[in-house]
């Protein structure tokens, strides 16, 4: 028996769009609408996160200054306009949590993945539209709860939890360990738990869709690299979020049911001995390190969840605007998979100095550096893709190139941190902060920028303004280098993370000029983001109309109208005849060939490699 094909294949078979506003835009089942909802959520979340980062920078470089507006906005956090340390820490915590979870796990996967994965594999929708809608709304609830955490902290001064985005126990497990660690912390955990559920529902939806719903001819090795990235990301999410969920449940029990999974015995917190007071019941036997294991078992895969979609988009865009097939497609696929697999083997590198067994530390250290290899391979292939191209410097291309530059900048410092011995001086200093902002804080974000500029015409049928886009790129690109490269220096001198002020320490005095410089750069960069938001809104209505294929690209999303109809392909499932990046094919009429373009004779799933034509070196 041969595989039965989709009954929609061939025959025209329309699915009509719902008409009522609610079903169409709010509780829509259309993966395209849901994708846009995710992106909007991310755009709102990133605004919050950025604002917080600015406040943090202000407090760091001009400590003790009076900012009257803050006094009125946050009477609890900044009484009389002066930020309190706990307010700063709750900003850090919320900034980290919101950025990692609600920006970089929603926009790349739930947003662009949702919108373009089905189209790029030639499907009419996700496998489970209802589940898809649920995942979004669950995530949305999680976002509301995390915002609530800032305001219902339970402490008299209204600040959020101060435990950092890693929520290390017992600080996070003991309500009396500090302001904001009461109700606010509970809400933080609940929000994360909700988020876990939302993402793993989304993940299984993605995997099923990609495996089961590829259009005829869309063999695995003909999928755009974006799809590979989204697929791997979904697998990572499916396998790592449940572990965090388990940990979250236990942590919540520690706080609410008086258990002590992560709380050892004999603690004496803020003047109270465990067991001698009703609001500090007796705890014993727990292990703080267990929480760190559970968190980082999720945490490291999570960071690849954050960047893999960006990598996919970058490969996609680089090839499109270099007018050249992706260099080493197979190698890229293997690299994505290797990163995904190895991503599970290295979580311990966050715990070198946590009191973890030094022997596991050594193993983790070596595994950690080996994960640099596939990343390096990807970098080299990106360069290879540009090599010999005819590069068109559109805004998405600029951001894609920026991604490569920033990923290298951030990634290589990982090789420093990855050595357990070098982590002794580096751990929990700004060197780490620099590392992860360059890779996650901006490389991934650049991936999202590129994706936005690239796919906006498809999503809204209008081009984004190139001029605004260019300004946005130049300032942001230079800006983020100015923000995050000096942080390495601070880290080397020894500036610890999560310090509300640096005025206490003399050995940090020499860094003051740098600190101020970074803050100014940060504020400038953040302000420029306004251009981006303006560009989005303006282009939606005023941008010049875009045809179905404004970039002369090759993959399936470009064969349908912009924006695509409710069922993506007007009821005709396309058939795929060739690989995803057929640019500059010798003898072809134009320099790009759509995947749906038939060719006399059968096409192997992927082209042979290195068969030395066109002045290839061998």
């Amino acid at each position: 028996m041969s595989g039965e094909t989709h009954d929609t294949h061939g025959a025209v078979h329309r699915h009509e769009a719902p008409t009522s506003f609610i079903r169409k835009y709010i509780f829509s089942l259309d993966h395209k609408v849901i994708g846009i909802q995710y992106i909007i959520l991310a755009l709102v979340a990133v605004l919050v996160g950025m604002t917080m980062s600015v406040l943090m920078r202000m407090n760091l470089s001009w400590p003790g200054t009076n900012w009257p507006i803050l006094g009125t906005l946050f009477p609890g956090g900044a009484p009389g306009g002066m930020m309190t340390p706990e307010f700063y820490l709750s900003l850090v915590t919320m900034h980290g949590t919101i950025m990692v979870f609600f920006v970089l796990t929603t926009a790349p996967q739930g947003g662009f993945g949702n919108y373009f994965l089905p189209i790029q594999i030639g499907a009419e929708d996700m496998a489970f539209p209802v589940l898809n809608m649920l995942s979004f709304w669950v995530t949305f609830v999680g976002f509301v709860v995390i915002l609530a955490a800032i305001f219902f902290s339970g402490a008299e001064s209204t600040v959020g939890p101060i435990g950092g985005w890693t929520g290390y126990a017992p600080l996070s497990a003991l309500p009396n360990s500090g302001p904001g660690q009461g109700m606010g912390m509970n809400l933080w955990i609940i929000s994360i738990a909700i988020f876990c559920v939302g993402s793993l529902l989304g993940a299984l939806n993605f995997i099923t869709t990609l495996l089961n719903m590829r259009a005829p001819g869309m063999s695995l090795m003909r999928m755009p690299l974006t799809c590979w990235a989204w697929f791997t990301t979904a697998v990572l999410a499916l396998l790592s979020f449940p572990v965090l969920l388990g940990g979250g449940i236990l942590l919540l029990l520690d706080r609410t049911a008086g258990t002590s999974f992560f709380i050892p015995g004999g603690l004496y917190v803020s003047g109270v001995l465990s067991g001698t007071s009703t609001n500090f019941p007796i705890h014993t036997g727990g292990s703080p390190i267990l929480w760190q294991h559970l968190f980082w078992f999720f945490g490291h895969p999570e960071v690849y969840i954050a960047i893999l979609p960006g990598m996919g988009a970058t490969s996609h865009i680089l090839s499109t605007f270099a007018r050249k097939p992706v260099f080493g497609y197979r190698a890229m696929v293997f690299a994505i998979f290797a990163i995904g697999l190895l991503g599970f083997f290295v979580w311990g590198h966050h715990m070198f100095i946590s009191g973890m067994s030094p022997y596991s530390a050594m193993t983790f250290s070596i595994l950690t550096l080996s994960i640099g290899v596939p990343s390096a391979v990807k970098t080299f292939n990106w360069l290879g893709t540009l090599w010999g191209g005819r590069i068109r410097f559109t805004t998405p291309m600029l951001f894609a190139i920026g991604f490569v530059s920033l990923f290298v900048a951030g990634g290589i410092t990982g090789l420093v941190l990855g050595q357990s011995s070098l982590d002794l001086p580096m751990h929990d200093t700004y060197f780490v902060t620099a590392h992860f902002h360059l890779v996650m804080g901006v490389a991934s974000i650049f991936g999202m920028f590129a994706a936005t500029y690239f796919w906006f015409p498809k999503m809204f049928g209008r081009m984004m303004s190139e001029r605004l886009g260019r300004i946005h790129f130049w300032v942001t690109f230079v800006g983020v280098y100015c923000i995050f490269v000096p942080m390495h220096t601070m880290g080397i001198v020894g500036m610890p993370r999560r310090f509300a002020q640096f005025t206490e320490y003399e050995f940090l005095a020499t860094l003051h000029p740098l600190v101020v410089f970074v803050s100014i750069a940060a504020i400038a960069t953040v302000i420029v983001q306004i251009l981006f938001y303006f560009n989005l809104v303006w282009s939606m209505f005023k941008g010049e109309k875009a045809g179905p294929n404004p970039w002369e690209a090759t993959t399936l999303e470009w064969i349908t109208t912009s924006p695509p109809p409710h069922d993506n392909f007007a009821g005709v499932i396309p058939t795929v005849y060739r690989g995803p990046y057929e640019f500059a094919v010798p003898g072809a009429p134009n320099d790009f060939i759509l995947q749906t373009e038939p060719e006399p004779g059968t096409v192997p799933a992927t082209e042979g490699t290195g068969n030395g034509h066109n002045g290839h070196r061998h």
Partner: protein
């Protein structure tokens, strides 16, 4: 199909798109993935339990009656429910929906039996004085280690957390199955099969909870 199943090589056609490469519908594949994910949540909890147990003095308080007796009965219930479930599924593959409904109802019955026994047993332990944060007084005295270290109250914490979560799964499973039983006529065979997958998974989890939580904590005289 059976010949298909034995086909070891992957004919390229399977992966070239336009087909379901596993010959399995979306919902069934989705359920499998959900099961993978959910079993990792349980793994995390069970590993956490073992982690804490290995680093603490652990009481082994379960007497044959009621704990072991009940938990064994509960195990039998779940096993039997799995059997009736699988009968139901194969009945539905024969299109015999009456039999299907009958077997699913039997499954729900066993599931509820499990819940009732389990709650009774919880109740018993709570009466003995076991809570998520404390052990019954006599356990403490009885199981204090030679070097004077007290037995860990985490016993109760892990016990209630893990069995509680499992109970919750059984409960939702029972509801799920009753919906299926109600709509059995309209449902496709595969949908029945899927509900079966979930139910068997709940059973499967118990196959690890039972030995790790109960058998490993049996009270042996002269301990």
């Amino acid at each position: 199909m059976s010949t298909e199943a034995r086909a070891v090589h992957f004919p390229a056609a399977d992966w070239d798109g336009g087909v379901h490469p596993y010959r399995v519908g979306h919902r069934k594949l989705g359920m499998w993935l959900f099961i993978v994910s959910d079993s990792l949540t349980f793994s995390a909890l069970l590993i956490g339990y073992s982690y804490l147990r290995a680093s603490n003095v652990w009481p082994t308080p379960f007497h044959f009656n009621p704990s072991i007796l009940f938990s064994s009965l509960m195990t039998m219930c779940l096993l039997s429910s799995s059997l009736t479930m699988v009968f139901g599924v194969s009945a539905s593959s024969r299109g015999d929906w009456r039999a299907t409904r009958k077997w699913i109802l039997a499954t729900i019955f066993f599931g509820l039996a499990f819940l009732i026994l389990h709650l009774y047993e919880w109740n018993h332990l709570i009466h003995e004085g076991l809570t998520p944060f404390a052990l019954p007084a006599q356990w403490v005295t009885q199981y204090t280690a030679a070097d004077g270290t007290l037995p860990s109250p985490l016993f109760g914490a892990t016990f209630f957390a893990i069995t509680g979560l499992h109970m919750f799964h059984v409960f939702t499973g029972a509801i799920y199955l009753s919906v299926v039983a109600a709509r059995v006529k309209k449902l496709k065979h595969e949908d029945i099969e899927i509900s079966g997958l979930y139910w068997h998974f709940v059973d499967l989890v118990w196959m690890f909870v039972f030995p790790l939580i109960y058998i490993m904590s049996v009270h042996i005289e002269g301990h």
